[in-house]
Subunit: 414 residues, 2 copies
């Protein structure tokens, strides 16, 4: 299949690329996991509380369960004396109900007896005679008490579909007895490295050769954004070999990344090979982002393929911005949890060309209003600059650059 797109550079903006990705991908199927395996997975269903929490009124302090009205007017000078009608032990429901003028000793977490509506802290009482308690401060209704259903009412939403399950949500689900959760299956993301000059990192590069870097940066970004990386192979710039690798990748993965050689010839080869597949659709041939402009986004049989630029830094920037977005869309995530946007004051002038969005590696110190971004200027092939960076400064599409002291949007690289 040949295409009218060949050699036609269909460059789109970052926002358009993000929309394209979201439009052309749908969330994967669900699977059920135990709570112990649910951390950082994306919820595939919206859940409501199957019961109220707590199921009974509980004390939040150690003290005495009372009828609050019995304590009104109590003070240091004129304590109220109540008869101690019993001791509530934790983990049981008090059998007797509380009568007027009486109190029951209650531990933190203990269930309030019927008739009681508040708890006086032990610190505000004295019991010279264990049969009686002197109360030195009044309590208002429900003071020091969590009412039944106060934490969560039965039927209330507790987890939205598309939310990342954090440690807090694990606790909330456990509290409600929800021990198995429906989450989106992890997208399997295939990586094909290509390039005649590229060798596997365990090999000593021959003259003119370099080691495969992108495979590893991509693996890391995929894992961090909730995908499962699968290395398909390292191929030379050869049509038949590359096509075979693509076939295997498309058959076994939900998303396919081609981290191509960096030359124009390699990029042309990538496009040529992809066009040979039935149902090939070119979604983007170039994104107005620097570094990383020569990026291909395509779709074959419902699966998305990224033709990434060869430069390690360009590949990395594009993968951070767009591959994580594709993974999130496959996960059905409400937001791109892999991107940590922030702002900082830039410490240096950064020129920029209009018509492209620049992402400049930077070292950021401080947080909040004290965050300062020091740009790292170096050539895009330089991997050490990426390791030195803890943020990317964003220069907008229609800006000619920023001046020292201006506030800029940054992406933190934690």
């Amino acid at each position: 299949m040949t295409s009218q797109f060949e050699n036609f550079f269909h460059v789109i903006s970052r926002e358009a690329a993000e929309k394209t990705i979201q439009i052309h991908l749908a969330p994967l199927g669900k699977e059920t996991v135990s709570l112990s395996n649910a951390l950082d997975r994306i919820s595939a269903e919206s859940l409501t509380a199957p019961e109220s929490l707590p199921p009974f009124a509980r004390s939040t302090v150690d003290g005495f369960a009372v009828k609050s009205q019995d304590t009104f007017g109590a003070s240091e000078g004129f304590p109220v004396t109540l008869e101690v009608a019993g001791v509530i032990s934790i983990g049981t429901l008090p059998e007797a109900s509380l009568k007027r003028g009486k109190a029951m000793a209650i531990p933190t977490g203990g269930a309030l007896p019927e008739g009681a509506d508040a708890v006086v802290m032990v610190e505000h009482t004295e019991s010279p005679d264990p049969a009686f308690v002197e109360i030195y401060r009044p309590v208002s209704p429900f003071e020091n008490v969590v009412r039944a259903g106060e934490d969560i009412e039965k039927g209330r939403p507790v987890l939205e579909r598309g939310r990342k399950i954090r440690p807090q949500e694990l606790g909330l689900l456990a509290a409600l007895g929800i021990t198995r959760v429906s989450v989106t299956r992890k997208p399997v993301v295939g990586i094909i490295s290509s390039g005649n000059e590229v060798v596997s990192p365990e090999r000593v590069p021959g003259p003119g050769q370099i080691r495969d870097i992108n495979r590893f940066t991509l693996q890391g970004l995929i894992a961090r954004s909730g995908g499962e990386a699968r290395f398909i192979g390292l191929t030379p710039d050869d049509e038949a070999t590359l096509k075979d690798a693509c076939e295997r990748g498309l058959a076994s993965c939900d998303l396919l990344l081609l981290s191509g050689g960096s030359s124009v010839g390699t990029r042309d080869l990538t496009l040529k090979v992809l066009e040979e597949f039935g149902g090939f659709e070119l979604l983007a041939h170039g994104i107005a982002v620097s570094p990383g402009k020569p990026t291909i986004i395509a779709r074959i049989g419902g699966k998305m393929i990224f033709g990434l630029p060869g430069h390690p830094v360009s590949t990395w920037v594009i993968a951070l911005l767009f591959v994580t977005r594709a993974i999130q869309t496959l996960l059905g995530g409400r937001e791109n949890y892999a991107l940590a946007w922030d702002t900082a004051v830039v410490d240096g002038n950064i020129p920029s060309a209009q018509g492209r969005e620049d992402f400049i590696r930077a070292k950021v110190t401080g947080v909040g209003r004290a965050a300062t971004a020091f740009p790292i200027f170096s050539k895009s092939g330089v991997i050490s600059s990426l390791a030195a960076a803890n943020a990317l400064i964003r220069i907008p599409l229609n800006s000619e650059g920023v001046y020292k002291g201006e506030e800029v949007a940054i992406l933190r690289l934690p």
Copy 2:
């Protein structure tokens, strides 16, 4: 072994507790992992580059390798014409060296021939006759070239001990042929849940009982901060059973968390049981942090034990602030990678008592200067408020509170 500390509340500040943890723990041993398993692990050794990168001068563009001085004075009106002396293919080292007045076609990533010091982009050339190239713009020495060793010089530090290995570092190590990395062993963190009222989440709680929440929030926090959670068991408030669980936990774990019942009686029991172990040291009995003050930090036989407050929210706050610190110290991490400090403007007045540091659950919208924190006021036993929060607002030790519109430090809960 009895102790003079019994019933003596040895309350220390957050900073003192952090220091205590750091002083009393040392990094665990090392293990070697492959690059594919190194993501987010903590480097156990400082590494230097075993070779220079790139090993040869490379072109960063598609174009023509030249002697830069041959292009000086070239312009659109007066192009310089050079003879094309060859085509460099990628992945090989050019055999011939470049003579004056000549050029060689070179792809991005191609190795520069001896004698060349710059590359003219193909866009700035024309070749009506393939044997010659017309150059329309001059290049300066090293323009469009990454020199040998420019990215990384042999012997330069590339990874500091104690640094978290991010996707970027994976790439840097791969580039240098470092395919196995020495990292600190993951701390095994034991969890013992206790309390007569606490039941396992898969069980339907009887009257007055509640499900174990802390086990799951702790598991999540431990995993997020690089530890390996191990559930030792759920015990009633019974001295012999709790002691047995502690013995098993101390024998099999690097760090032990007791998420006790919430009553004073349970806390006393925890301390009593721990004191029975030989070599027991009480490091903190209370931390000036709210919620979470009734926290015990102890050490037995070189292993640290946390007696956490029973309330789910208190337990969670204390685990976030201090257990993650202990895990980082065991990992030898340079910083506590689990804590994401930031700032925000608070939307509401928050009163606070002096002499304690308050951590108020909040919902934060926006980032950078636009970050606004809306406090969530609710009782500390309420787990739903924790799930609703995406940050904790910090009110300093000696503050009486903050007013709406003030800037506050926050901990983001991503």
